[in-house]
Amino acid sequence: MTPETTHAPLLRVNNLSLRYLSASGPVTILHDVSFELGRGEILGIIGESGAGKSTLGNAIIDLLAPEFQRATGTIEFGGKAIDAADGKGSGGIRGRRISAIFQDHTASLDPLMSVGAQVEETVLATNSSLSKLQARTRTLELLARVGIPEPHKRHRNYPHQFSGGQRQRVVIAIALAGSPDIIVADEPTSALDATVQKQVLALLRNLVDETNISIVLVTHDMGVISEIADRVVVMRNGQIVEQDVTSTILDAPQNEYTRGLLAAVPRLRTSRTVSEREISKTSTTPFAERDREPPILVAKGVSKTFFAPGLQWGRLSGEAGFALQDVNIQIPRGAITGIVGESGSGKTTIGRIIAGLDTARAGWVKIGESDFDVSRNGRRTGLLGRVQMIFQDPAVSLNPRTTVGETLRESIRFGVSPVSGEEPPDMGAMMDRLGLARSLAGRHPHQLSGGQKQRVAIARALLARPQIVIADEPTSALDVSVQAEIVQLLKESVTERNISMIFISHDLALVQDLCSTIYIFRDGRVEDFGPSDFIFSHSQNPYTRSLIDARPRRFTH
């Protein structure tokens, strides 16, 4: 769909500059930003953290905190300026003409109000002429439109009774309630699983095509852009570095930064490059190679149940279901094993159980020659330390009150002690190796960038001299360009130090590059497993196929 160039643009941002009045003086967040949005168009705004893309989105819906100050520029809607400066000028526009979708579908909805009531109050707030009954009818229409099954029943349900994808659909229904001209969608699918993300993006595209609404899509994800955006604005440090039609940006980017962003997106290879002979070998005996060398870690029959939320009085809420059900995995020595799954698949839980951070209902973990009972009453002494973890978000996994040096020294002190004759681990050398300046040792975590923090987390794990490192989505909280560096470091650490790694991720392309063996988890079970190439090129498992198909086509070969 191409924008209608004959009409005046629906939204025009002219030379917009915004300053943030911080305690230490004003900081420029947006610098001289100009772009236009046509009717029936999806405009993608892409950039890494700190690019100012969310601020720009908030400026359009007029939800900026009072500390933001407009230095220059205007935002025009339908030819008339929206005066965001005084915050009151948009009274008739917000909700009615321009509405919003936020990233976190769980946090976007009031947990104490039924979804029907939340849609309905928006319908009433944006169309004051409607009667209660008309509003109810419109609510049901909206819920049906966004694909909520049985809206006449489900409108009475509360947000927690819906799945993540359905909640985001409800949020979209609310955004549509005032029949707006523009929806500002800030990372609308980032909190969703790949397969669900695909469906929600299809819904947004469909809405645009059918109702001629326009969407400003703020995202960090090139995949999302490649799927549905008509045009793209690439932002960096509060400035627009490039804007063009999506195909041009993807195929012939002019700007160096855009090229870097595109190159950093992990690509999935599904072409059948492995020869037929090799396939027959690997498919019949996927672990043939490793039979010669025993695996470093074996987890046997690990099960875990979770408790239903609900009446917490006494102990009667009961076990609601399996978080893990009889999971058996083998981790080969000196290699990286991938555990892939969507949210709720149990991939993080198995990692935490292996690391000794969580107990199972039943199960054994064997590391080298030692067996550990990982159930609640088992003893895991000796397990802790041998297995180290790298968590998803370094901002919360590092103690904010200790300096980097203290954190790392603690890791050396309490890690596995070196056998006589072995070099004790050296903090300085490790920092050099991971690209951390030694001067950072005196800093606290909040004084570091996201990438530096994750490097510290890696150093912390490695300095404890583990046999196994479990990396749980170690790059998901990082920008694409930093992600690639961290992945490279992890890869090198494994080969240099002869450790084994479990890499937990939702990102197939990332896992493919990194891992020799892959386990695919679904609903607490191992759904599929095998050597990486086999899984991506030849696996017949329908679930594995659906995961691969959910990847943006642009980044799959």
Binding site: L63, R94, G95, P111, E121, A125, Q161, G310, L316
Partner: protein, 325 residues
């Protein structure tokens, strides 16, 4: 079905609690001293008098037998007879209950709405002059001892201005076989000062909770989303923020209400308000064991009931408690 199981669990917990409480109370009173000396006239009583009184009260038995006897009587609904008033102990407590109940209810009816209103206001106007004023006033109201607050209220509300009476229950009217002050104008007039003395610290407590809750909830995405979808600030405050901050507030209201039923003794004493708290303290001083035990039992049951009500409120308020996914 689940509700029955929950209720049964609660009930058995309550019995255990009552048992432990009665044991502690019983031993406590027993170890303070011999009640006989408060009953007989020490100046004139002979050793024989004291011996007879001791036997009459059953105090000659070993303490464990006294306790078993007491438990046995309680099971049949009999808490014994007050040593001092020579009335059934539980009936005595119940006769003081209306005074305490109306005082606590009115104090909470004042404290809860005004505390919540002040807290919402301060939370909305976070870091403004109004917010700072409310915060400072709440620190003051919480740290002032209640006897001083009561006396200031008497000084300004009764002595200097003469607007309110300085103590007593005033005239009462009968309802459900009990005498109530709030049913007559005069009685209501007498209620105001002691109720205020109880309410003021609670206003401060509730306002602080409501304020911090409001600030927290209004930073969440769904309130931002509510603004984005075009709702008025008024509607967001009352339909979204208020329900979301009410769990801790209701918890504290339940606890504080229980506290007022049982331990409003300072205020009750200063305003000569014949309530349960005053009865408890007087009975402890006189070692009137049946009355002490009856009062403690009543207080325990009241706390358990209030907690159950609070839990029930959670379920009503929060669908995540009420309905599983």
């Amino acid at each position: 079905m689940a509700l029955v199981t929950i209720a049964m669990g609660r009930l058995s917990q309550t019995f255990l609690l009552l048992l432990v409480m009665s044991l502690i109370g019983f031993i406590g009173v027993h170890s303070v001293g011999n009640p006989v000396f408060n009953i007989v006239n020490i100046e004139t009583a002979t050793a024989e008098d004291i011996r007879r009184a001791t036997i009459a009260l059953g105090l000659d038995q070993p303490v464990w037998r006294q306790y078993l006897l007491f438990i046995g009587n309680v099971v049949t609904g009999n808490f014994g007879t007050s040593y001092i008033y020579h009335l059934p102990a539980f009936g005595l407590v119940m006769s003081k209950l209306p005074a305490t109940l109306e005082l606590a209810c009115i104090a909470m009816l004042v404290a809860a709405p005004s505390g919540i209103a002040l807290g919402l206001l301060a939370g909305r106007r976070n870091r403004t002059f109004l917010d700072r004023t409310i915060l400072k006033a709440s620190v003051f109201a919480l740290s002032v001892p209640s006897f001083w607050l009561s006396m200031m209220l008497i000084l300004f509300g009764a002595i200097l201005t003469g607007w309110f009476p300085s103590g007593g229950r005033g005239s009462t009217a009968s309802m459900l076989g009990q005498e109530w002050s709030f049913l007559t104008w005069n009685g209501l007039w007498h209620l105001i000062l002691p109720a205020l003395a109880l309410a003021i610290p609670n206003i401060a407590l509730i306002a602080r909770l409501a304020r911090s809750g409001t600030i927290e909830v209004e930073q969440l995405d769904f309130t931002r989303f509510c603004r984005a979808k075009g709702l008025s600030p008024h509607r967001i405050l009352f339909r979204h923020t208020l329900p979301n901050i009410s769990v801790p507030i209701v918890t504290i209201i339940g606890l504080q209400f229980g506290g007022m039923l049982a331990f409003a003794v300072v205020v009750e004493s200063i305003f000569a308000w014949p309530g349960v708290g005053k009865l408890l303290i007087d009975s402890i001083q006189l070692l009137d064991r049946p009355v002490v035990m009856a009062t403690l039992t009543f207080i325990s049951v009241a706390f358990v009931a209030l907690n159950a009500l609070v839990d029930l409120f959670y379920a009503v308020l929060d669908p995540r408690v009420r309905l599983s996914a």
